[in-house]
Amino acid sequence: MGLEQFKNRNVGTQNYTKLDLPRSPVTGWCKFKQVVSRTLSGELFVGLGVTMRIMVQSLVGGQSHATLYPFEKLPISPRYRAIHEMLRLLESGHYRCIGCGLCEKICPADCITMDTAYDKNQRKEVTEYTINFGRCIFCGYCAEVCPELAIVHGNRIETASEQRASFSLFDDMLTPIDNLNLQQEYQGFGAVTPNADENIKKTPLAY
């Protein structure tokens, strides 16, 4: 594909209707006439009227779009990508992360690192896990690629802190064990689709 084709973003059939606009004034006299007509037509005062009306409405009628942010928060979309959280298994309380390293691999900012080891139960243990939030671009790939729905984006959008490090360790991201019953299932990228069952074939089982 050539650059020109690439740049042409007019996809599909083009059904543009041209507005029947008068020509721009060319001569000084025409321009003057335009100024006079626009000045005297009162359009400017319509604008003034609108702003005045709005002011009166918001002062007297209390119509306002503002939220008093720290005291009043708008709900966040489930697909919003805020600071990460690590979820636990609801049954056992064990962290869901299996240390497969897919998030580490897919991360375009290369900000996820993990150390794993063979533990005494013959399982893969995640000994350490960090996200460098100085580099994270919150693209959500990690949550999308995670096969266990372990790493997800939470709803902590207020991330002012003296140190980024206070978000980035495994324990900081992990659901506190006493809040396990409050753990929310993530609805965003990588979550199971509502019709997932219809899209897979069942594996035969012998027992």
């Binding site: 709005i54 918001s58 119509q63 306002s64 503002a66």
Partner: protein, 337 residues
């Protein structure tokens, strides 16, 4: 009112007046920022500052503290002397202009018996002085823009020179007609003219009033003519490199100029500080100035900017000829009557 009835104007009285003007106008300028933010907010269905103090009233104190305690930064390649002087010129010219403007009614301080006049210095060319002082204010943005070794500053300075010089002409010409009617350059005479006539100047000179307003907005660098520091094009124009206290001086200067224009418009066209019906003169002048100030904010909330070329076109091809025509007509009418 007869001059002989007034007590003697002493130096102490004038100094007190100057201090009052300085303090009150500076305070008002700061308060003006709060008012502007609030009004713009309401006009856009927002709330504006709400957190510091009740309804954000103490926001200006917070801003003041911030401005005064900010680090004073002078860019490496700037001309340091001029860079430092420029904001002072801005504030100084704005306040000196107020020296020849009647601001509050006169009064006598009890016990020490010091008479404080309504005008610090009732010079007989008051209006000329005010216009001259405001014109001198041009140097502030010009020097500021040129001294800071920043391309946005340079562009801002260039626009300053063009815009202020051009609209100076319109201001002068638009005021010429009222001056012809009054026959004096003293603002006190203007005020008295209203009282004598019983009708506001705006009735005789509507065109001059409108021209004066437009030119005044251009001279105070207000929307729709705020091209000197137009963020979308030239970052902050001549104040790009300024911060902290120096930037604050520009800010106060701008708001002081807005008040000056408000006072001028009130005194020259809108009846000055004369009593109206049951309202006393001091109240009326405050109402008028407040309205003029509010009008600036209202316009800012409603109308878009214009382009620099449109600005020049408007000045030289529309406003200036209109002002000339207005003067001619006024002159003819005066000859006939």
């Amino acid at each position: 009112m007869e001059a002989t009835m007034l007590p003697e104007v002493t130096a102490a009285g004038i100094i007190i007046k100057a201090i009052i003007v300085l303090a009150v106008i500076a305070g008002l300028a700061a308060f003006g920022t709060y008012v502007e933010r609030k009004i713009l907010a309401y006009m856009q269905r927002r709330l504006g500052p709400m957190h510091v103090g009740p309804h954000g009233l103490l926001q200006l104190a917070a801003d003041g503290i911030k401005l005064f305690t900010k680090e004073d930064i002078i860019p490496q390649h700037a001309n340091k002397v001029i860079f430092s002087i420029a904001p002072v010129i801005m504030a100084a010219t704005a306040f000196i202009a107020l020296g020849a403007v009647p601001v509050f009614p006169d009064f006598t301080i009890p016990f020490i018996d010091v008479y404080v006049p309504s005008i610090a210095s009732d010079i007989n060319v008051g209006i000329l002085f005010v216009l001259g002082m405001m014109a001198a204010g041009l140097y502030a943005p010009l020097l500021a823009g040129m001294s800071q070794a920043n391309k946005w500053g340079i562009i801002g300075a260039a626009r300053t020179a063009v815009q202020f010089l051009s609209y100076e002409v319109v201001t002068g010409l638009s005021l010429l007609a009222p001056i012809m009617l009054v026959g004096s350059l003293s603002l006190v005479d203007f005020n008295n003219y209203h009282a004598d006539q019983g009708v506001w100047m705006v009735v005789y000179q509507p065109v001059a009033f409108i021209l004066f307003l437009i030119a005044g907005y251009a001279e105070t660098n207000r929307t729709p003519f705020d091209l000197l520091e137009h963020e979308a094009e030239i970052v902050s124009g001549y104040v790009t490199e300024y911060s902290g206290l120096r930037w604050g001086l520009f800010f106060i200067g701008e708001y002081a100029n807005m008040i000056t224009i408000g006072i001028l418009a009130s005194v020259v066209f809108l009846g000055g500080y004369n009593d109206l019906w049951i309202f006393p003169g001091w109240f009326m002048i405050i109402v008028k100035i407040a309205f003029m100030f509010f009008l600036m904010l209202w316009v800012r909330a409603s109308w878009p900017h214009i382009r620099p070329d449109q600005l020049m076109w408007l000045c030289w091809k529309v406003l200036m000829p209109l002002a000339m025509v207005n003067i001619l007509i006024t002159g003819f009418v005066m000859m006939i009557i």
